[in-house]
């Protein structure tokens, strides 16, 4: 009797010990590291009057910078989803010499200082560079252009997609595909109808991570972009140049717009993912 009783109480409690303390630590760290800095950012920008805020954060030039930043991040994240799926597929499904090495190299963009990545890319794609000498005559400017920004963001965002898709793909059992084949599905149908739907959550997450990475990126882009206002000036660079004018409040105003933009985009992606899960069921 006592035994069954004790097992029942244990069942009703969380299997992890110390829920109270761990939640307390989580919340206090999140407050110190995330909420307070963000609050300080918003508070600083609030020292501007609404008109000043608008003039700083919603000028034509700032809007051009947001458009470029969000578009470049979205395009590169979309490309990353396709490429990342392919990479993960190759790493998980095939065995070939060098697979482990490839698996390791995928993480390199995480570790590399982004300024180094930017320098290497711009050196490769300028007209005297290894790629540039072939591409520039064809009109493909892989350095000092908007295309260059997308290119470097693809590089930086790729591991996010690979690393989110890879474990899910590895956990998909071969039997499911065999079952699909037995039921008469072609290989293409198996991929589209069976495998892809189960990978969708990971693909959404990978997209969101790569996208968010692209929005905040500064270090590499200033080396590959020409930083010309209205053409190739990204929002983080605009923030930097406001700071150089000692215009702290204006800089934070732009940062707040960027923040609101990225939070809403991430919420939309989460909502899409949730909806997708509902339909998949």
């Amino acid at each position: 009797m006592t035994i069954s009783k004790s097992s029942r109480t244990r069942k009703s409690r969380s299997p992890l010990p110390g829920f109270g303390p761990s939640l307390a630590v989580t919340i206090s760290w999140l407050t110190i590291l995330l909420f307070v800095p963000l609050l300080a950012l918003v508070a600083k920008s609030m020292s501007l009057t609404p008109e000043e805020f608008l003039r700083a954060a919603w000028s034509d030039r700032a809007r051009a910078a947001y458009t470029l930043t969000f578009t470049a991040a979205a395009i590169s994240a979309a490309v990353d989803v396709v490429l990342g799926l392919l990479f993960a597929w190759v790493i998980v499904r095939y065995s070939f010499p060098g697979r482990v090495l490839l698996d390791t190299i995928v993480d390199l963009p995480f570790a590399l200082p982004t300024a180094v990545a930017g320098l290497v890319y711009s050196t490769l794609y300028v007209k005297s560079g290894w790629y540039g000498r072939f591409l520039v005559p064809l009109g493909i400017e892989g350095a000092y252009s908007r295309f260059a920004i997308v290119l470097i963001l693809i590089f930086l965002g790729l591991p996010f997609v690979v690393r989110t898709v890879q474990p899910l793909l590895a956990s998909l059992e071969g039997e499911i595909e065999e079952a699909a084949a037995c039921l008469g599905a072609s290989r293409w149908q198996t991929f589209l109808r069976v495998i892809l739907p189960s990978l969708m959550p990971a693909l959404y997450t990978g997209f969101a991570l790569a996208f968010a990475r692209g929005l905040g990126e500064y270090g590499s882009i200033i080396f590959v972009s020409t930083n010309i206002p209205f053409k190739s000036e990204i929002a983080p660079y605009l923030i930097y140049s406001r700071l150089e004018d000692y215009k702290y409040e204006e800089a934070t105003a732009i940062a707040v717009v960027l923040l609101v933009g990225s939070i809403s985009t991430l919420m939309i992606i989460n909502w899409l993912e949730a909806r997708n899960r509902r339909y998949a069921r």
Partner: protein
Amino acid sequence: MLKKSLGLLLSLVAGVIIVGCAGSDSTSPAASASSADAPAGDAIELLNVSYDPTRELWKSLNEAFTAKQKAAGKNVSIKQSHGGSGSQARAVIDGLDADVVTLAMWADTDQLRKKGLIREGWEDALPNRSLPYTSTIVFVVRKGNPRNIRKWSDLTGADIEIVTPNPKTSGNGKLAFLAAWGSVINAGGTEDDARKFVTQLYKQVPVLDTAARGATTTFAQKGIGDVHLTWENEAHLEIEESKGELEIVFPEVSILAEPCVALVDVNVDRKKTRSVAQEYLEFLYTPEGQAVIAKHFYRPSNPEVLAANAAAFPVISLFPVTKVAANWDDAQTRFFADGAEFDRIYEGDR
């Protein structure tokens, strides 16, 4: 989001570390300097916060100064910090413990005065309006000067690509802009002529790097552009590195750049390093200091040292900032503030 919060986390951690270091930095010299005029061997450390392309200059000057101090039985070491002039000033305002600032732009140094870190009238605290040296903006071109660029008006010739850093973020960039503007005024042109000229000039700038060294890399290493508008000292360094691939062109006129030096009064008083820091800055004016300055291709303020090195400094008619604005502060507001002349160049071609 994950990355963002991670970035914030890292920056916060970095912030804590920096604050921690700054704290320990400020206590240790203060502790040692409380017995400032005490026995020899008492280590004093100065921090010199300077602009981007002066690394080599200050390395030589610091070696010369510390050697001299050592001979006098004093143990002084000097740390240097380099970056865009504006961001360096901002770092000092935000708490970087600089004893002296040696920035590219007068307006950046004066910003420290506005924030109460430097006394009123700082400019007159040292000889020659606190200018141990001056400098200017010159051209660097490809070997043999294939586009035949000799003077400012040649820059806007058809298909010529110009490399110069962004005036918003770089002292080099600001001076190149002012030099171009002033070259028109100097030749008798009106403000409208000057505006037309610089607008065309910046249309021919394919890349706006953030600081002087970045632009040097773009021009020299990546082979972008036909001409590079840069500091005179940086041009010499660039040519030396290029091993004959690049040439320097001295225009007939250019701007007189005035990179002032100053004590950061609040910091030297707190750290009790004033006397050494003052000695350090005065050393720059000695014949020895001036010789080092000339060797690195900065124009020494001592006329005798300048005359002795005349071969290294071709005659350029250098116009002061008053040619284009009331003073450096006014130049900053008129040309580089938000929505001012420089910004309007790009507003026009949207």
